[in-house]
């Protein structure tokens, strides 16, 4: 691998920035097609009820209505990520299971007409008892939400490594705590939208998605259409954060309406619908028991975690596991037992989140601080003591190939003067640290790899074709930068055709942090293969050895005698003359143990590599109001080599907002199955004025496998910023929290309990 890089590792302006800051970038709801109809969805007003009948007749009679559908118009194919979790009828015919569930829909010439038609749809319900809390849902006699899942237990992930009971009995210090965290909203800038256009037996679709290929496959199953006739097209996405990963009820609704009407259909959800009826984050309760030796080494961990799964499985087994895995990928656990239960309730559907596992991770970290303190160790030393290092294997047998954890801890703590601040707390001030690791990609069967096709055009420019998708994090710009580096042409000479299931090949998608490590790696290999062809012709024409040829600034030249050079466009034209144009493919398939299964076989290599990170938060607490402010936040992220440091820093800063400051304000509020804050006024996304002064530190452990040594760009901070704030509050108050987020009322309770305990 060459280290004298021209473009990779440089702070370049992202290829998508100009269109986005000028408002020119198109999103799904911006699309307009001739004869396009507007769709609206009728939603369940009840948390749990049997559907006795749905009558669309009156709706269809409204002038301007072109189609109306309910679950009785589907094939009744249920969605689930795994064969054993297929329980989600995206338009149900038996029961509704949450308020806001899609029940019927219409497509009409305009929104007013569609709304008028919705009001005429007759649905007969027989209300059923509902259950909203997972603890209650698990009890005998609780209302059964799905017949197939006894006591509403959707998924039970059981992991058992070593001998936990023995290790606990031998531990010097044992502590058990329970932490509860409210679920959160993804609160993407873009409310969900789908455009479906059915013509000549082909269905074209546009929607924000984190993987067009998996989306098309799911829809081909639901619609019983051949996969080649379902084409998910490229479109900009206004944020995903894990919430756009799976097929959504709106996809099915818009598709069916378009098929029925024979016209393009646009379904754009309101902000409220985006909150009540697309996936949200799991609420959870985590009981964490830890045994430590006298020198602060973790001897055993014993977990019981209950996830509020809402009404359907979704990514169930993955969601039930990830909080544990990101933690075990960070620390050494010789003995560990994990019991994760995902439980159905009559609440909205839930999925993965960039900060999935807040109660779990923040609870573990804060508990570790307290135990360390008892043993005379500060958070820095206890983390360094237990942190994994390169070459080690996690409890469930994943090998760590590159690891900058210790460096992120050391740098973040030195920059913040952590040790001194942590020891000498003054009233109302605290400092806390959170660490985590993240898998870059995970087992998705044959979809775990990515393939790229590159062609050199006759003017020396390149076109990349890749399934890689961009949800706003800069993936498109990243692969253009990679291609630009390898092909020796500026970024503006690289065209990108991506995330279009007809034109592009399989790619795992923009979740599980696979875009850089897997997607960009395929682009790298394809471009290297094209480069070899360019170099061969240039060497021949210039009369030098291939090893002497370098490509830069649209030129091929001899390194030894730079005067010997030619334009890359001439090389390309020469190749056309020879009837052998410069085209190449590249595929990257990560080294993952594909026998690994989330429930039945939870061990083996999880991902090709892991990224690491450390966040440090400094907080101040108003002792009278309990209000927390965060004056300073420091984040150190081992992203491997940053392809674009500015983009990585942007991701880190966004993470500090969405997972850091969120710790003191963000939560979904529920009452009897009603989401009380489905809007951005009452759901408190931190504002610019709430943000701390931020210091971002990039730690580059060059990964041997990653493209130019890259791993992923910022997710560790999204996972550990929450812990850093929570630990800082624990440091400031001298007590452990039990409920998250740390809103002022909860913090005041902590302070008052402490005062009461002192008296």
């Amino acid at each position: 691998m060459k280290d004298d890089l021209n473009i990779v590792g440089k702070r370049v302006v992202r290829s998508d920035s100009l269109a986005k800051v000028t408002g020119r970038a198109r999103y799904t709801a911006d699309l307009k097609f001739p004869n396009m109809l507007v769709a609206k969805v009728l939603r369940s007003p009840l948390p749990h009820a049997r559907i006795l009948g749905i009558d669309l007749t009156a709706a269809l009679k409204v002038p301007g209505v072109k189609a109306a559908i309910s679950g009785f118009d589907t094939y009744g194919v249920k969605w689930g990520v795994f064969r054993y979790t297929q329980d989600h009828d995206m338009l149900p015919t038996d029961k509704v299971r949450y308020i806001g569930e899609d029940v019927a829909a219409v497509a009409a010439v305009d929104e007013e007409t569609a709304l008028e038609a919705l009001s005429r749809i007759q649905v007969d319900y027989e209300p059923l008892p509902a259950v909203f809390e997972p603890n209650e849902a698990m009890q005998e006699g609780a209302p059964q939400i799905h017949d197939a899942y006894k006591n509403n237990i959707n998924v039970h992930v059981h992991i058992n490594v070593g001998d936990v009971d023995k290790a606990m009995s031998e531990a010097f210090l044992v502590r058990e705590d329970t932490f509860k965290a409210a679920g959160e909203a993804y609160a993407m800038m873009e409310p969900y939208a789908v455009v479906a256009s059915y013509a000549n037996g082909f269905l074209d679709l546009w929607m924000p998605n984190a993987g067009p290929h998996v989306r098309a496959k799911a829809l081909s199953n639901l619609l019983k259409m051949p996969l080649n006739r379902v084409r998910v097209r490229h479109i900009n996405s206004g944020g995903a954060f894990g919430g756009r990963s799976e097929v959504s009820p709106g996809d099915l609704v818009a598709s069916l309406l378009s098929i029925k009407a024979g016209r393009p259909v646009r379904l754009a959800l309101s902000r409220e619908e985006n909150a009540t009826s697309t996936r949200q984050v799991h609420d959870m309760i985590a009981t964490v028991k830890t045994g430590m030796s006298k020198d602060g080494a973790i001897m055993a961990k014993d977990y019981r975690v209950i996830y509020d799964g809402g009404a359907y499985s979704s990514t169930g087994p993955i969601a039930t596991s990830i909080p544990f895995y990101v933690y075990e990928e960070c620390y050494r656990f010789p003995n560990v037992r994990y019991n994760g239960y995902r439980v159905f309730t009559n609440k909205g559907i839930r999925g993965m989140y960039g900060c999935h596992g807040r109660a779990f991770i923040a609870g573990n970290e804060a508990q570790m601080d307290l135990m360390g303190k008892e043993l005379g160790m500060d958070p820095v030393d206890i983390r360094l003591k237990n942190g994994l290092t390169s070459g080690e294997v996690t409890a469930t047998q994943s090998k760590i190939t590159s690891c900058g954890l210790a460096e992120t801890i050391a740098t973040a703590s030195e920059r913040t003067n952590f040790k001194e601040k942590w020891t000498k707390t003054s009233k109302g001030k605290g400092i806390g640290m959170g660490c985590i690791a993240i898998m870059c990609g995970f087992p998705m069967g044959f979809r775990s790899g990515s393939s790229c096709y590159v062609k050199m055009n006759d003017d020396g420019q390149a076109t990349l074709v890749t399934g890689l998708v961009d949800n706003g994090q800069g993936n498109e710009s990243m692969v253009i930068q990679v291609a630009s580096e390898i092909l020796g042409i500026p970024m503006e000479d690289v065209n990108l055709v991506n995330a279009d299931t007809e034109a592009t090949n399989l790619d795992p998608g923009a979740y599980s942090q696979a875009a850089a490590f897997v997607g960009a790696n395929a682009v790298r290999i394809a471009c290297e293969n094209a480069r070899k062809k360019i170099v061969a012709i240039a060497a021949e024409k210039l009369g030098v050895k291939e090893a002497d040829i370098d490509l830069r600034d649209r030129m091929a030249f001899s390194r030894k005698t730079p005067g010997k050079n030619m334009r890359i466009s001439w090389v390309v034209r020469e190749a056309f003359f020879r009837g052998d144009p410069i085209v190449a493919t590249g595929t990257y398939f990560p080294s993952i143990d594909f026998e690994r299964e989330w429930v039945s076989r939870p061990w083996g290599q999880m991902a090709g590599t892991f990224s690491f990170g450390t966040s440090v938060a400094e907080v101040r607490i108003d002792g009278q109001t309990g209000k927390i402010t965060v004056p300073h936040f420091t984040a150190a992220h081992d992203c491997g080599r940053p392809i674009n440091p500015m983009a990585v820093e942007g991701q880190m800063e966004g993470s500090i907002q969405q997972a850091g400051i969120a710790t003191i304000m963000e939560e979904n509020l529920w009452n009897k199955g009603f989401l009380l804050n489905p809007d951005l006024l009452e759901y408190k996304v931190p504002l610019a004025c709430d943000m701390p002064e931020i210091e971002t530190i990039i730690v580059s452990s060059i990964d041997p496998e990653g493209p130019f040594g890259a791993k992923e760009g910022g997710l560790t901070i999204r996972m550990n910023a929450y812990s850093a704030i929570a630990c800082a509050v624990a440091n400031a108050t001298g007590t452990l929290f039990s409920e998250l987020p740390l809103t002022p009322d909860r913090v005041l309770n902590i302070l008052e309990r402490k005062k009461g305990a002192k008296k």
Partner: protein, 314 residues
């Protein structure tokens, strides 16, 4: 969410606006900045047959001195008022409450009249028609119950104007014009104390002037909110002092502000006012933070506001 259909009329003077209202058979409403009204329309919480736009009436947009009063037109934007030469010097509580209202972008759109006449709010009320229909209509929507406090006899929606509190602390009064003529009332009298219909305005009445006694005051505004911008107050406390006497005004809890005279400036006297306000405030679980917490904060913020107002006076 799309707006419901309505007629749009623009009035050139107050008399024309009232005439337009009279023609609407009571189904019109007046529009100023629209920052409160437009969301209500989108949620179908208000469905007027016509909107009478007051923005084109020059008289409603002036700030002037008349006798011993500062007279403020209701269509003066919050931003203009905040930056008016006298406000910061003479009425610091008002300056602070204006500055604490939403964010500057919305301050440039929202007017002082609209801010005072904003409807009361509730976590279970400011929702779409679908959401509310599923939940069932409450008193404020014309239903037979309160969705927050079962069996309650009244509506507990919160009046969330920051600036009403500071204007009350400054003993402001308002002038109204309507089909039955003009009247001038103390600002306190504008509040009906009924969350269903929080104002004593008569049908078709327009708020035409605010009058604030033009005396230099000291003061402060304290606001409880989760985020430092945009958010409505979960509790607001305004204090203004003139010549050793003052007024404390507590709002954001319940349908009308509470107003207290501040005469005894001893430590015990101040605590007593804070304690009394805490006792009389009746928060319920209709905001994002708990009712118990908000009640506790009445005491804390009242004391803070008074202390700051007194400090400023020294």
């Amino acid at each position: 969410m799309i707006l419901p259909k309505f007629d749009y009329k623009k009035a050139e003077d107050i008399a024309a606006a009232i005439a337009l209202y009279e023609r609407s058979k009571g189904r019109a409403c007046y529009l100023a900045g629209g920052t409160d009204l437009i969301p209500l329309l989108k949620l179908r919480l208000s469905e007027p047959s016509a909107m009478i736009d007051l923005k084109g009436i020059p008289q409603l947009k002036t700030i002037s001195r008349k006798g011993n009063s500062l007279v403020i037109g209701p269509n003066v934007t919050l931003f203009e008022l905040k930056n008016h030469e006298t406000v910061k010097d003479y009425f610091p509580a008002l300056y602070e409450s204006l500055d604490a209202t939403s964010c500057e972008t919305l301050q440039m759109r929202g007017t002082i009249g609209g801010n005072i006449l904003q409807n009361t709010r509730c976590l279970l009320y400011n929702k779409s028609l679908d959401w509310r229909t599923a939940r069932g209509f409450c008193y404020k929507m014309g239903g037979e119950t309160c969705n927050v406090v079962p069996n309650a006899a009244a509506c507990f929606s919160n009046y969330c104007s920051d600036n009403a509190l500071s204007l009350l602390s400054l003993s402001a009064s308002v002038k109204l014009a309507g089909p039955e003529g003009e009247r001038k009332i103390k600002l306190e009298k504008l509040f009906s104390k009924d969350g269903r219909n929080p104002f004593t305005l008569k049908p078709g009445e327009i708020l035409t002037e605010f009058h604030i006694p033009f005396k230099r005051s000291t003061g402060a505004y304290e606001k409880l909110r989760v985020r430092n911008a945009i958010d409505y107050p979960l509790l607001g406390v305004a204090v203004s002092m003139i010549g050793g006497k003052g007024k404390v005004c507590v709002g954001g809890i319940g349908p009308a502000p509470l107003v207290y005279d501040l005469k005894d400036l001893s430590g015990a006297g101040l605590k007593e006012v804070a304690q009394q306000a805490r006792q009389e405030a009746r928060p319920v679980s209709n905001t994002t933070l708990s009712a118990g917490y908000r009640k506790k904060m009445v005491n804390v913020l009242t004391q803070r506001a008074i202390k700051r107002a007194l400090k400023e006076g020294k």
